[in-house]
């Protein structure tokens, strides 16, 4: 008997479900644990016995496996069951981890907000990729665009000297954004004008950024004596920030975090609801058709790639001027590639890509949360490296599971040669 894709995933869930019900649930602690929704003291709390929750989820997984075999009867039910099971995986991890740790509870609202915060550069990177790839240019260089702008932005900040002045900080963030655009222009020059293989061009951008920022850090930033500065500070949005529970955590945050939502919304609106967006997407799907209608393909690609670079520049500024004030070599540490995975996960659409970015933000937030909780299996305390590797592992799973099924813009990767 040959298993289809849904059945294969279903069987995996089923096996996990059986394992949860038969082994994990009976063997975990019987102490009560809780999800809290606010900071102490006396936060609202949802208390539960881990074994029961794990068993319930396990049963649902088994049911999902069963549902997947009735794909032919109701494809929709099977798909919904799988989607639900996938989403249930997130609370499951937290419950299992809580059960294995000494802590009695954890603040889940904070966890969600932390996910959003850590997902910010990934979401910005994904939007950078979206603009670029919707116009038909593969952008494997998001990492380099972010790293380069983080480095150059902070270099300007350290050169300006006054490391606590807000206007200078914003000037430096501006420089970071422009730097992203310039690096993107280099990518466009290589891949659009000179028609270098777009993957090679992107890798060159990454390595160039690594080399140049290393040089600038040791030759400019370190000699200037200012290796750390004050990052952006929290802004409370009036009204929204006074919403109970989520208000103070979600709407009292830093500016690039808020700008990220603006960028995602704007990307969606411009690409799908304006003349320019229609043209960008047409160039990504069939540049020759666009050309026959008098659209300047080369110019459109340049503009789209550079817009992507500006967005990546903002993502870079997040690293060196919002999450902290300072620059370390290779500080983006793969966020650009994770952003690409989020883009693929989101099938080259802005809101779903945003969702993908938040999934990665969540894996990262969860990793550091679990590290603090101190999860032990038997006598073995799970080392921090395991948690740190979580986003990378999830990226591979996502890319392997979804690419090929997610259809990219049709002309992606193909250099365009103007007829004349």
């Amino acid at each position: 008997m040959r298993l289809g894709r849904l059945q294969t995933i279903g069987v995996v869930f089923g096996l996990v479900g059986v394992f949860l019900v038969a082994y994990v649930a009976p063997n975990v602690t019987s102490e009560s644990k809780g999800f809290t929704f606010d900071t102490p003291p006396d936060p609202p709390t949802f208390s539960f016995t881990p074994g029961v929750v794990i068993a319930v989820i396990g049963v649902l997984y088994v049911l999902t496996a069963v549902a997947s075999f009735f794909e032919s009867r109701s494809r929709r039910t099977a798909q919904l069951a799988l989607l639900g099971s996938g989403l249930l995986f997130l609370p499951l991890i937290i419950v299992v981890a809580l059960a294995l740790s000494e802590s009695s509870g954890t603040n889940v609202v904070q966890l969600v907000v932390e996910s959003l915060r850590l997902g910010t550069p990934v979401a910005l990177g994904a939007m950078a990729g979206l603009w670029c790839e919707r116009s038909g240019v593969v952008n494997i260089g998001i990492e380099g665009m972010m790293l380069g702008s983080a480095g150059v932005g902070f270099m300007i900040y350290s050169l300006l000297g006054d490391a606590s002045s807000v206007p200078w900080l914003w000037a430096s963030i501006g420089v970071a954004v422009v730097t992203g655009g310039l690096i993107a222009a280099l990518h466009a020059l290589m891949s659009v004008t000179f028609r270098v293989d777009q993957i090679i061009s992107g890798v060159v951008v990454n390595l160039l950024a690594l080399g140049v920022t290393g040089f600038l850090r040791s030759e400019v930033v370190v000699p200037s004596g200012i290796t750390s500065g004050t990052p952006t500070s929290d802004i409370a949005i009036p009204l929204l920030s006074s919403i109970p529970v989520i208000g103070p955590q979600l709407f009292d945050a830093r500016p690039i975090f808020f700008l990220m939502f603006v960028v995602v919304t704007a990307s969606w609106w411009v690409l799908w609801h304006t003349r320019f967006g229609l043209r960008v997407r047409s160039v990504g799907e069939n540049p020759h058709a666009a050309e026959t209608l008098g659209i300047d393909v080369i110019r459109t690609r340049y503009v789209a790639v550079i817009i992507g670079g500006l967005i990546a520049g903002l993502g870079g500024a997040w690293f060196s001027m919002e999450s902290q004030g300072g620059f370390q070599d290779n500080m983006t540490n793969g966020a650009g590639f994770i952003a690409l995975a989020a883009l693929i996960f989101g099938k080259w659409r802005p809101w779903t890509a945003f969702g993908g970015a938040m999934l990665f933000g969540f894996t990262r937030a969860l990793g550091s949360r679990l590290q603090i909780l101190g999860v032990e299996v038997g006598d073995f305390e799970i080392p921090s490296e395991f948690w740190q590797s979580l986003p990378f592992v999830v990226t591979i799973v996502v890319v392997a599971g979804l690419i090929g099924r997610a259809v990219p813009p049709a002309s992606i990767g193909q250099p365009f040669e103007r007829s004349r």
Binding site: V138, I140, L189, M190, F194, R195, V196, D197, Q198, I199, I200, S201, V203, V204, L207, L208, L210, G211, V212, G214, F215, R217, S218, E219, V220, N333, G334, F337, L340, A341, I344, F380, E381, P383, E385, F386, Q388, S389, F392, V393, T395, I396, V399, A400, G401, I403, G404, R405, A406, V407, P408, I412, G413, Q414
Partner: protein, 379 residues
């Protein structure tokens, strides 16, 4: 079979055409020229700096040996990248594969049973351990690409990060003690048995050891596989036009899988050789940046296995010689990094160089006909 031998000779000549040397050389010239601008910008004299660099690279017998020693792992790592290139794959994972290979070697080298083996057997065992680990680690992206279409660039970058984290854990972990040398204050593995150490020719810093010749032999082997075997023909066909390869009855998935795994194997051997020849132990951060270097070298050599050797020597020598430049002119080693980054830019975008110097494009350049980006988004 004289006809065959003549063909070999012709192919060899073909492999070292004037074109394929001229463009990378000019790219290097351009990179140094732009690098000079950066040096002037921070207020130093580029001629003095470059002169110091040159003497640091090849100024004395010892320095030459150190340069060759420094270049040794680059040969293996960039061969790995080049081999994958020829199959139309971009292996950014040389760093992780090197690390995994080195870890396997560092572990096998501490086996008590290795102590009593004859040197040649112990060394072969060590290199085989590195090769196996590298093969396995390269097989993962190969398999995922062949089966699911996951692009190897993303997968290998993720695997680099994962390898670094887990190797760090293996070496750092105090409870339980896994590979950590309890006698050492810094996190590193226990030294491998002397029997498994590659013999040293010159005790320079770093030493020039037998590993250099092993890597040169590896380069020859890779050339032979690519040009002279049926498998190599499959690799090149899949790398140039995978669709036509499929129509010709080649098993594209299998070829991709094997090419990626062999690429990992080459990097794994390089990692093992480095452990065995240079330090005798592994500290996790030792291969950082080697992914960068190997890609640049492979591009500089236009993925030609023979050109890899001189390109690696140049690369290693620059890093090795930068110390003298730092001493004499006070410029940090990062100057070399920026020049190397520029070399990469100019060799990758060789159109720029060709435009400046008006050189026509070679029709059979394996990089010019690359199909890397066309695989974006699945097979």
């Amino acid at each position: 079979m004289t006809g065959g031998r003549e063909r070999w000779a012709a192919e060899l000549r073909h492999s070292i055409q004037i074109q394929s040397i001229l463009v990378p050389l000019l790219a290097i010239v351009c990179a140094f020229a732009v690098g000079a601008v950066a040096i002037v910008a921070i207020g130093d004299n580029p001629i003095e700096a470059y002169w110091a660099l040159l003497r640091g690279m090849f100024g004395s017998g010892d320095r030459i040996a150190a340069s060759l020693g420094r270049s040794t792992p680059f040969i293996g790592a960039s061969l790995a990248v080049a081999f994958a290139f020829r199959a139309g794959l971009f292996n950014i994972g040389a760093e992780g594969q090197l690390l995994v290979g080195a870890t396997a070697a560092a572990w096998v080298g501490t086996w008590a049973s290795v102590r009593d083996l004859p040197g040649i057997v112990a060394i072969v065992l060590l290199l085989a351990a590195g090769a196996t680990a590298g093969f396995a680690y390269g097989a993962v992206p190969g398999l995922l690409k062949a089966k699911t279409g996951a692009h190897e660039v993303i997968v290998t970058i993720m695997l680099n990060a994962i390898a670094l984290l887990y190797v760090r854990w293996l070496v750092n972990s105090q409870d339980p003690i896994l590979l950590r040398d309890t006698a050492s204050s810094v996190p590193r593995t226990a030294p491998i048995e002397d029997a498994a150490r590659l013999p040293t020719f010159v005790d320079s810093q770093p030493p020039l050891h037998l590993g250099f010749l092993v890597m040169v032999a590896l380069a020859t082997l890779v050339w032979f596989i690519l040009q002279r075997t049926s498998f190599g023909f499959e690799v090149r066909t899949v790398g140039t036009n995978p669709e036509a390869a499929r129509y010709a009855g080649m098993d594209v998935g299998r070829t991709i899988f094997l090419a990626m795994a062999i690429s990992g194997l080459l990097a794994g051997v390089a990692g093992a050789g480095e452990i065995s020849g240079t330090s005798g132990f592994l500290s996790p951060g030792v291969f950082i940046n080697i992914g960068f270097d190997s890609i640049a070298i492979a591009l500089l050599a236009r993925a030609n296995p023979f050109a890899i050797v001189p390109a690696s020597i140049l690369w290693g020598a620059m890093l090795s010689g930068a110390g003298l430049m730092q001493q004499e002119v006070g410029l940090s080693i990062d100057v070399v990094r920026i020049v190397q980054a520029l070399v990469l830019l100019f060799v990758a975008a060789d159109v720029i160089v060709r435009t400046i110097f008006r050189i026509r494009k070679a029709a059979d350049d394996p990089l010019a006909t690359s199909t890397l980006a066309s695989g974006w988004g699945g097979p």
